[in-house]
Subunit: 211 residues, 3 copies
């Protein structure tokens, strides 16, 4: 049943790579990188999560250096951001929506690939989350920013939800296209709710910090 | 003889993961990360070194995403830090002692695992050090700090000592429990001596720096 | 034909590791790291690109932790920088020339190794570039600087050129020593031209940035 989803998985991945690569390009432009930096950061943001996933589950070389369709999608997104970044900035709201879509498809497709590689369920769930947030984390670390995913906003949590849905469904041998789409919609909806309602993960209590 | 040590290795790893994850949680709280960030940084600090080790020796998926006991230990340490960080800060001195214990067990168990994978002796020694210092290095890089291990204090040096003891003992086919414990105590003692006596690795000479 | 080049590949790698490790040592000294930090950063700069390459193509353990000749070259470069950094600084111009040589040999030897592992041509080309620029990127990220390779100057572009030459020659079954040397000279010449003529990759247009 899973194999029948391989076209679906490619489609999901292409969308995710493209929108994440846009975010990487925007961060690069703001950090005043040059054309090489913009394309590299688009590639890192779009394909870094999948590359960490593939290295962790032992599927080398990872798609980020082997699948020319995904690499092309990331490069095109980088070039678009480079050429048109003022316009891309102007649609920042749309980019946030697209980013939520990218988060959704990456969490789901990452968990699906891990399941396909027969790793333990807990591993597949964690790998799904890493696929979804790893690219953005690398993107931020490379330009010297504390990763957005660790600072505020519910970002990793919806990814974990979707990842768990996939793993449980696979466990129950019920990983149908319907379940896959439901998981994608779930992640997207929770993430958009967090954006719209400005939901954040709890912060540690401030203390009369002596340092 | 080594296989008989697998329980010992798990025990060492659990202790090391827990105390290193506490350090990750503290760094995250100080960097004002949210709950997700605190748990992620606890996981990175506690399991990052072991994940680099496993990727380098080709044992995928690495324990950091596959061994639920170690992952649970890291998460619990993260949650404890999140909830009780003022108290954890107050016992900073104890945390330093625990951290020395973590360094000791990670260097030793990292080198033991590398030996078990039949890598060359020099590789096993280096991999032991990477296991011990890699998590802290990733922890610091993610929050944008120059890694403490590279700046001052003897930290990597005791790890290298313990790692070499394990490798040499394995070479001589004498890797008994006694040797393992002696190596752990050696790393711990040298590290604590460095803390107490404020021993540092040499610094480069300052120059009339023109920059 | 490729196998006959294995001595050549080792020679290229030794040169590349040594000069890149010098650059790592210099960055470490400027960032006020201690002796451990200087040696670690020399090792990261000299062997990090090759380690990423090996992990990506699945050749573990990577040469950066298994080939004692390369590790020794990196350590010696680190110790030399630590002891003699004012003099190394004074020959900064020469170091830039050597760095161009390192870039050339790493791009070529990285692509050659990837070809040897029978990865797809596009993968081999990208892996060659990663081999050449990965160590410098890790070096800069660890000390909290935005990687030089992403900011300005033509650095990745000549590496890509040389990498593509190797991949195309291998495709045409024409990967002779002559082609290898021609590729090395090409990368070196383009990089030196970029340094001398101060050629840069294009920058994104500044905008009346509203943020």
């Amino acid at each position: 049943m899973l194999t029948a989803n391989s076209d679906l998985q490619l489609g999901l991945d292409l969308v995710g790579v493209f929108v994440f690569a846009l975010s990487g390009g925007l961060v690069a432009v703001r950090a005043r990188l040059d054309l090489v930096g913009v394309v590299v950061l688009a590639w890192v943001a779009g394909l870094g999560g999948g590359m960490i996933r593939d290295v962790l589950i032992g599927d080398t070389p990872p798609v980020g250096v082997s699948d020319w369709r995904l690499m092309l999608a990331a490069c095109v997104a980088g070039l678009i951001t480079f050429a048109l970044h003022p316009r891309v900035e102007r649609i920042a709201r749309l980019v946030r929506v697209l980013d939520a879509a990218g988060l959704a498809v990456f969490a789901v497709s990452g968990a699906m690939k891990a399941v396909l590689f027969s790793v333990a369920p807990v591993t597949a769930a964690v790998v799904g989350v890493i696929t979804a947030v790893g690219g953005g984390l690398l993107r931020d670390v490379i330009v010297g920013q504390v990763p957005a995913v660790l600072r505020n906003e519910l970002y990793a949590v919806p990814a974990l939800l979707g990842s768990v849905v996939i793993v449980v469904a696979a466990r129950l041998e019920h990983l149908t296209s319907l379940v896959v789409w439901a998981a994608v919609v779930l992640v997207f909806a929770v993430r958009m709710a967090a954006v719209v309602l400005d939901l954040n993960a709890p912060q540690p209590l401030r203390t009369g910090d002596p340092s």
